[in-house]
Each structure stands twice: as structure tokens, then as C-alpha cells.
């Protein structure tokens, strides 16, 4: 296999005019890279078509930090034991049963062999980050985060002679009689050209960055959503496949959506925009009213429901209010808190009715009961006679200075995706496609019907990416 430069400047079709690739990989994140590496190692001639420019390569994977991994005993940086049943039950809890058990168990079971595979392909792990000790048993953290993982995989691709084309926007996947023949792609904004292949792996993510599509699903509220990751996942390929009669799974309103700092950028704010103060706070909407139990469970178990909760409030905004006691109980925020010496003043500074906020906080304070406060586990310090209640960490908010943060829904990825078999093969209304596989966020909706389990996106991407690459290579070789 000849080694090809990943950045060779050219305008003709990659690898020369009419070249026929063994495996065309659409997308450039974790799942795509796992597929490309697996296929190239099997001996296939592989091309990666990444929609983003080189700096932003890797889709949402560049913002990730860990993957959830089954294991029978301490391995690498993971402590203890995390077995299939516990893992599956954790998934059932967050999805409320909306999952495909067969595919979910396949992802869970295969996650175990992924960790050594990732290490062998340059990914380095580190112990659970400070402030995330609760994940040290279940989630293996990437040293340097997801961008480091993405870099390692691109280096691997380069060493294997995989051709990588950046700013390659795939617009159409040509299907004829249940077979893929080529993709139509515009490279660096140029004219559409065809890239032919014997097989294709589609791993180009969800549609969350297409605000129009999000608005069709959610209504006008979608305009107020922030997108935590890449602006390049606009669902062009996903839509193209569904339009051509491929089967989809999932509900277009379902997504991995958390409440993030309302001041975060519209796209690509990533991890630093998260706010971990909710359990220690009172959260109100723009009318100054509480709307949900802030202390229902520890934050890692609840952060993923707050995006939808805030999305359901007027103007899709919330405000989390704490006092001086709680300021250092959670990881620092990237933007400084709004600070004031009285609740009224804080309300006005946050742009809500100060008197109304003060009334809500007084009612809350009056409903607090004595108890032993414990920030890292459910401490049973609950309100009495308050609706909605706060069932843990309910301490009066009475020590100035008071701090406030605005909250907005932050979408990580949408769950509407392609239906795949347990070999990652894409399903068409008329039956399985012969040479088309898909992986990553593009198919995660099969397993994640709703809710989110930290680190599971990367597990699905790695498991199905490798599977897709292996099957595609097997098909052509």
C-alpha cells in the first residue's frame, strides 16, 4: 500500500480521477476513524471525507473526555468491576427502557475489548479527573481529552496510508438497486465531484447544527438552543439516506441535551460551558418560579435531563441561584457568576423580577429543614411543603454574596438516526443495503431512545465504527 499524504493539495478527485476506493468513509470523528483504521489494517484502500477543516476535524469527538467501558476487574485506569448487567441497568434507567436490547448489549459487551484496542492505536488514558471521582469505575478518561484521541487516530490513519480529505462536504450517496456506488462531494467549496467506492461507511453524526431541521422538530424554541459541539453536523447525509428510503430510528426531538451556561457560544463551547451548581441551588425560570426538584439525585445522574427541563420553560432559559456557602462545592464555571448582595439585586442583574425571585427564595428557605449536609451523596436534606420539592441538599440561600448563572439547553447530538443491523449494516425499506454501513452518533438513536449515559456515545462510536470498518473491508477483500 503506498503511503499518501493526508494534506496533498489537489483539485481533481482524491487519488486521481477515476480511482475506485475499497472503503469510502463519510465523516471524520471517532466512529469514522475507528472504521477507517480497522478497514485499512485489514488491507483495504480507504479514503476519509471529513466535512470540517483540519483544525475542527473529529466532529463532536474532539470535545469528549471518556468512554464507558465494561470490565471484569481493575484495568488500565479503571477501578473495580463494571459488568454487563449493571451497565445495561444504568442504560435502562436513563432511557426509561427506550433502547434496543440486542444492540445495546452488543455495545456494552464489546466495550471491554475496545480499551486495549484504543491503547494499541495511540489513545492514552488518565485517572478520573478531579471533580469526577464518581466515574472512576465506569469511565476511562482520555489523556488530553477527545482531541488527543482524534489526533492519535489521524496519526494512525496517516501511518496506515489512509487518504484524508478535509472540508469535504458529502451531499449525496448514490444507491442503485440496494448497492452503493459513489458519493457526490464538494471539496473546499468546489464543484460537486463523484468519489467511487466498493463500500461506504457513513459516520457523519446527527443533525443538531441544522437549526431549520431542529426547528421543524422542536418548533421555534429551537432557536434558543445552544449546540455544544461541532457546527458541521448538519445531518445532510442522514437526510439524504432517509429521503432515499432508508429506515430511521428515534424521535427527532430526542437528543443528548444538558443545561449549560447561557452565555456559551452558539456552537462548539464544549465541556467548559457546563454548570455543576444546580444541586446546590434554586433554579427558576424567567418569571422567577421554580419548576423542578434540583436535588433529585447527584449531578452526574441528573445533568442530562436538565436540558429538556430548561427547553420547556418560557424563552428556554433558567437561572440557578446559590449563596456564598455553595460557591466552592462544584467545578469552576468558565464565565464568572453574576454576583449581588441581596436576592432582589441579583434578580435584577440577571434580568428577572427581583421581588419575584426574592419571594421564591424566601418560600424555599422557609421550607428547608435542619439536617446533615453532604455535597457528594444524596443527603436527604429535603424541603417540606414546597412544590416542587427539593429532595436533597436543600439549605437556605441566605449567606451573601449571592451568585446566579443563566442556563440554556445545550444540545450535544440528536438521536434520530439510521437503523442498522448488529453488523452495523444500514437497512432500507426494501431490505438491508449490500455495501453500506453506519456508526457513531448517526445510529446512536437505536440504543439511546432518550436520556444519556456519560461516555456511552464514544462506546457506541468505537464499537460500531470498528464493526463497520471490519464488515466493509470483509465485503471488498
Amino acid at each position: 500500500m503506498s503511503k499518501q499524504k493526508s494534506q496533498s493539495p489537489r483539485t481533481a478527485a482524491p487519488g486521481g480521477g477515476g480511482s475506485l476506493w475499497d472503503v469510502v468513509v463519510v465523516g471524520g470523528g471517532n466512529a469514522a476513524l475507528c472504521a477507517a483504521i480497522t478497514a485499512a489494517e485489514a488491507g483495504a484502500k480507504v479514503i476519509i471525507l471529513e466535512g470540517a477543516p483540519k483544525f475542527y476535524r473529529g466532529g463532536n469527538s474532539r470535545h469528549t473526555r471518556n468512554f464507558r467501558c465494561m470490565h471484569q476487574g481493575p484495568v488500565s485506569v479503571l477501578t473495580g468491576v463494571y459488568e454487563e448487567e449493571e451497565y445495561y441497568n444504568d442504560l435502562l434507567l436513563v432511557t426509561k427502557g427506550r433502547t434496543d436490547e440486542h444492540l445495546a448489549r452488543l455495545a456494552i459487551r464489546t466495550s471491554e475489548e475496545c480499551l486495549p484496542w484504543m491503547e494499541a492505536h495511540g489513545v492514552r488514558f488518565q485517572p478520573s479527573l478531579s471533580g469526577t471521582l464518581s466515574l472512576s469505575r465506569t469511565n476511562a478518561f482520555f489523556l488530553g481529552g477527545g482531541k488527543s484521541l482524534v489526533n492519535a487516530y489521524y496519526n494512525c490513519c496517516e501511518d496506515l496510508g489512509v487518504t484524508v480529505v478535509y472540508e469535504a462536504q458529502v451531499q449525496h450517496v448514490t444507491l442503485e438497486g440496494g448497492r452503493f456506488s459513489d458519493v457526490e462531494v464538494s471539496i473546499r467549496g468546489g464543484a460537486t465531484e463523484k468519489i467511487r467506492g466498493k463500500s461506504v461507511v457513513l459516520a457523519s453524526g446527527g443533525f443538531q447544527s441544522d437549526t431549520d431541521w431542529l426547528t421543524r422538530a422542536w418548533g421555534p424554541a429551537a432557536a434558543n438552543f445552544l449546540i455544544r459541539g461541532t457546527p458541521y453536523n448538519r445531518g445532510v447525509v442522514l437526510k439524504n439516506m432517509i429521503d432515499q428510503g432508508c429506515e430511521s430510528v428515534g424521535d427527532p426531538t430526542q437528543c443528548h441535551c444538558v443545561a449549560i451556561d447561557g452565555r456559551a457560544p452558539k456552537f462548539d463551547g464544549g465541556i467548559v460551558t457546563r454548570l455543576d451548581c444546580v444541586p446546590f441551588s434554586v433554579v427558576v425560570n424567567k418569571d422567577g418560579d421554580r419548576f423542578y426538584d434540583e436535588g433529585e439525585d447527584t449531578w452526574p445522574k441528573r445533568y442530562a435531563i436538565w436540558g429538556r427541563l430548561v427547553a420547556a420553560q418560557p424563552d428556554q432559559v433558567g437561572f440557578s441561584v446559590i449563596d456564598a456557602k455553595s460557591k466552592n462545592l462544584f467545578m469552576p464555571s468558565v464565565f464568572p457568576a453574576t454576583e449581588a448582595n441581596t436576592i432582589e439585586e441579583l434578580g435584577e442583574k440577571l434580568g428577572i423580577n427581583g421581588a419575584r425571585l426574592a419571594a421564591t427564595v424566601s418560600a424555599f428557605n422557609a421550607a428547608c429543614r435542619p439536617g446533615t449536609f453532604h455535597p457528594t451523596e444524596r443527603d436527604g436534606m429535603a424541603t417540606e411543603g414546597l412544590t416542587p420539592p427539593k429532595t436533597n441538599w436543600a439549605r437556605p440561600i441566605d449567606q451573601p454574596p449571592f451568585y446566579g448563572y443563566s442556563l440554556r439547553p445545550g444540545v450535544t447530538f440528536t438521536y434520530l438516526g439510521l437503523k442498522v443491523s448488529d453488523k452495523a449494516r444500514v437497512q432500507h425499506a426494501s431490505g438491508p443495503l449490500e455495501n453500506v454501513w453506519s456508526a457513531g452518533e448517526m445510529i446512536a438513536g437505536s440504543i439511546l431512545g432518550e436520556g444519556y449515559l456519560a461516555g456511552f456515545g464514544m462506546t457506541i462510536g468505537t464499537v460500531f465504527g470498528r464493526l463497520a470498518g471490519q464488515e466493509a473491508a470483509h465485503h471488498v477483500l
Partner: protein
């Protein structure tokens, strides 16, 4: 740009607060775990983090937030700027520090000047042994103050730095931890032991770590050789030159070779590395400093090789000129990084203890 100007400190704080909300880089080096102790960063905290940073660049190549991202992080560069500024603020006279750190030409100019003076003096000297060219007492009279005064300047600077970063009374445990880190250059090992991202972008490499250790251990061997020779001269009445199997030569020759090889490799890797991930204004000064180290070691080796030949007086003048330049520039060149880095590692041991 100075630390007292709000620009540098505010920019450093802005970047570090973003890092502290992310923490993905915790495993690379000592800087990121140290950061998690704070939620607010005073000037002394930033100085401490800056001097802990070894410019391995792992964080930068792993960062989601470098330009063109709107957060525009460049942590290795801003910490290099703060670090550089801390040396220039604490070392007196500060004007000399500012003059030399950023100017390779000034360093080289001083070196040429000092060498020329030695050459001029050497013209009147005799042939044969070193001390026939320059009498021993002349050399001591020249070199002792040239060594002691710069060291005094460094000591005063360190005391001021120590106060700024909250250093306390040093325990044996602090020293053990700090020296263990220096001995293997742990902070250039990337956390996984495979090296850093200095010159091969996002691939790991041991090159900088190894070349740094070659220079450092080479320098220490040469320093030991000089120390032993001094003792032999005064206590045992055994003046130079010394034979191949004498302690000064057994230490000095391998030391000189390590310094030359390490220094040349350091220069080559620095030419390959991205200058925008360091303190760009001192790039030239850093290069000239490494070149000076190479010149010290290479001229010393050449001098030994030329013992007894007619080249000796000239090479002696060259060697003494480079050594004196190195001494004089001790507080005002990259050489100070060793003192401040060690201080930071000791303070870090103390802070970790709580």
C-alpha cells in the same frame, strides 16, 4: 510586556480559568493538578503555574479551544510569557535581564567582546601551561567575582520569587520530590512516559527531554570537574593541566561531550518546533544561550585536545571567554530557568502537602 501591566496577568488568568473549567489535561504534567487547588488566581499563583510549566505543549496540541476557536487558548505561550516576566521582575538589575533575555545578538556580542579581551591579554602571555598564559591568581581575581556576584543576584531574585509564590520552610521531603522530578525530567514525559509534543506536533517524542538531560547532566559533570580541580589545586597542591585518567578529566570530558550533543540537538529541535507556542520575544535569546553552552563545552574539549600545541593559547582565550560570558549572564539568560523551575517544584511539593 510586564507582569505589572494588566494585559499579561489578565490574559493569563482568562486562559487558566478556562483550563480550570475543563481539566482534560490533568495527566500531562504538574501544572494542571496544581491549578485545581484554586478557583481564583492571584499573581503569585500564576507565577507558580508558569514556572512549573516545562513547555511540553501536550495541552496545546490536545486543546479544543486554541485558535481559530473564539476562546483562543495558547497556554504554553502565555505561561512562557508569565514565566519570562517573573524572571525579569525578580532578578536585579532588571534592566540587564530585559536587555539580554530577549536578545541573542546581545548575548553573542558580549561573548565576542569578552573573548577578544582574553585574546588581547593572551598575546603577552607565555607558551606551555595554562598558567603561563594567564596566571592562576589573575584568573581567580577575574572569575571569583564574576561567579559570586551573579549568584548573589540569582539568590536575591529567588528570595523575592519565593515570597511571591508562597514558599515555606523546606523539608527533606520537598527536596526529594523536586529532585526526583528533575532527575528524570518527569514534566517532559507527557504523563505516560512517552515524551512531549515539543517538535513533532501532536506526536509524542523524547527528543527534548533527552537533549535537555544531556545538557543538564553534562553541565553538572563539568561543574563537578571544575570543583574537584579547584580542591586539587588548593588542598593537594596539584595545579592543572590534569591527565586523562584524573577525576577532572574523567568527569569533564563526558560532561563536555554530553553538553555539545545535547545542545546541538536542542538547537535543531527548537528550529523544528512551533515558535508561537513559546515566548516569542525571547526565542533569539534562548537560542543564543544554548549556542553559548555548546561553545563553552566545545572550546573546552578542543582546548584539551590541543594541549601542548601552538593552538593552545588561542583556544584557552576562547574557552575562558565563553565561560566568563556564561557566568556573567547567569542571572540574565535562560540559565535562570533552572533555579526558578527547581524553586517551583519545591513549592509545589509544599502546596501539595497542604
Amino acid at each position: 510586556m510586564s507582569f505589572e501591566t494588566p494585559g499579561l496577568i489578565n490574559e493569563a488568568r482568562r486562559q487558566i480559568e478556562i483550563c480550570n473549567a475543563c481539566r482534560y489535561c490533568e495527566g500531562f504534567c504538574a501544572v494542571f493538578p496544581a491549578m485545581t487547588r484554586n478557583t481564583d488566581f492571584a499573581a503569585g499563583d500564576l507565577s507558580h503555574l508558569a514556572n512549573l510549566c516545562h513547555n511540553c505543549r501536550g495541552c496545546s496540541y490536545s486543546c479544543q479551544y486554541t485558535e481559530p476557536h473564539e476562546f483562543a487558548l495558547n497556554v504554553p505561550a502565555i505561561l512562557a510569557e508569565v514565566r519570562q516576566d517573573s524572571w525579569e521582575r525578580h532578578i536585579r538589575p532588571a534592566a540587564l535581564a530585559r536587555a539580554f533575555h530577549s536578545r541573542g545578538v546581545a548575548i553573542m556580542g558580549l561573548m565576542v567582546l569578552v573573548i577578544a579581551v582574553f585574546f588581547y591579554a593572551a598575546r603577552s602571555g607565555g607558551e606551555g601551561s595554562f598558567y603561563a598564559v594567564f596566571s592562576h591568581n589573575t584568573l581567580v581575581a577575574l572569575f571569583l567575582p564574576a561567579f559570586v556576584l551573579p549568584l548573589l543576584s540569582v539568590a536575591l531574585g529567588l528570595r523575592s520569587y519565593w515570597r511571591e509564590t508562597g514558599g515555606r520552610r523546606i523539608t527533606p521531603g520537598d527536596l526529594k520530590g523536586a529532585f526526583a522530578s528533575v532527575a528524570v525530567m518527569k514534566n517532559l514525559a507527557g504523563g505516560h512516559g512517552e515524551g512531549c509534543n515539543f517538535e513533532k506536533e501532536n506526536r509524542y517524542s523524547q527528543r527534548r527531554r533527552f537533549s535537555h538531560q544531556a545538557i543538564m547532566y553534562g553541565f553538572l559533570l563539568c561543574f563537578a570537574a571544575t570543583g574537584i580541580a579547584t580542591l586539587m589545586h588548593y588542598l593537594l597542591d596539584m595545579p592543572a593541566p590534569y591527565g586523562l585518567l584524573s577525576p577532572p578529566k574523567l568527569l569533564g570530558i563526558p560532561g563536555g561531550i554530553l553538553m555539545v550533543l545535547g545542545g546541538v540537538d536542542m538547537i535543531l529541535s527548537k528550529l523544528k518546533a512551533d515558535p508561537t507556542l513559546g515566548a516569542q520575544r525571547v526565542w533569539g535569546g534562548e537560542m543564543a544561550f544554548v549556542a553559548l553552552l555548546v561553545a563553552v563545552a566545545a572550546s573546552g574539549l578542543a582546548l584539551y585536545a590541543a594541549t601542548g600545541s601552538t593552538l593552545m593559547p588561542g583556544l584557552l582565550a576562547l574557552h575562558l571567554g565563553t565561560v566568563l560570558t556564561l557566568f556573567l549572564l547567569l542571572p540574565f539568560s535562560k540559565m535562570v530557568h533552572g533555579f526558578f523551575r527547581l524553586a517551583a517544584l519545591i513549592v509545589e511539593q509544599q502546596k501539595k502537602r497542604g
